[in-house]
Amino acid sequence: MKKMIVASLILSAFSTMAATSGNLNLKGNVAAINEISVAAESDAQNLGISVGSSNLKVAVVTEKCNDRDGYDIMMSSLNAGKLVHSLDATKSTTYQLSYGAGAMASPTVTPTKIKSVASLSALTTVTSDVKISVTSAPNAIAGDYTDVVTFSIVAK
């Protein structure tokens, strides 16, 4: 009688473990990639102030993204679109930049959207040329004139 009770308990235990199907959960993750890199041309350090420059290529920007909703490229300028004399901030000349196929625009201190990609179907790498037009300043005082432009990639 005792043996029957023990056997019955064991059988009951097996019946709860055994099934005709089972689930195996699988999961993978692709990390978000939003990368931007700027390769400056030598002309970026040798801009014409006295005679100005027109549509001069100064950099190639490489954009890399895998966000299905796409991304934006933002641009800002330390000196609000001006090349400023290193010793006298009151001396400057303005310039405009074009990005990719975009039109010439005056950079501002506040980041401004200059390119928008609506959606992506895969990890995508794109390059965009940056061109500059500098307003000539034939009476410019001698010295170095500089600005720093920051490009950002922002996923949507």
């Binding site: 410019a140 720093v148 920051t150 490009f151 990639i153």
Partner: protein, 154 residues
């Protein structure tokens, strides 16, 4: 293996960035230029009667040096018009540059004008005047000197 990943991770993370920077710069070199437009009187000075503030040249100065510049003058004969055949025969003269006080030129450079600073590239015309007392008994012949004008950054 973990050690290697830790070594590589900082390298990868510094390359991959959501921002990129483009530095723009240019250099405007210093320009100092001077050109002399001599008047006909410069080669037709009246030795016998003398000259009183006669303009002998107009000098065009151009500079973009923020520190300014000076115009310096020297004379081959140290401020004397010397007879071309008799060096002992000479007439002393004085010059005025840009309406400044008259001075006796020397064979060494003399600062005739000084600009302490410039707000931008500027071009200015300055007159060079000569004066000397007449020498009615001067021996005939040509009396000459050569002036050299230079523009120099401060």
């Amino acid at each position: 293996m973990i050690f290697l990943l830790l070594l590589f991770f900082p390298f990868l993370s510094s390359n991959a960035s959501t921002t990129g920077v483009l530095r723009l710069s240019s250099h405007v070199p210093i320009v100092n230029e001077l050109s002399i437009s001599s008047n006909s009187q410069a080669l037709n000075l009246d030795i016998a009667k003398g000259e009183v503030g006669t303009v002998i040249a107009d000098v065009l100065e151009t500079s973009n040096d923020p520190q300014g510049y000076s115009v310096q003058i020297s004379s081959k004969n140290a401020g004397k018009l010397i007879h071309s055949n008799f060096a002992k025969r000479s007439i002393r003269y004085k010059l005025s540059y840009h309406h400044k006080k008259y001075f006796s030129p020397k064979s060494t450079l003399f600062s005739a004008k000084s600009i302490s600073s410039l707000p931008q590239k500027l071009s200015t015309i300055s007159s060079l005047r000569i004066k000397f007392a007449g020498a009615p008994t001067a021996i005939s012949g040509n009396y000459e000197d050569v002036l050299t004008l230079s523009i120099i950054s401060n």
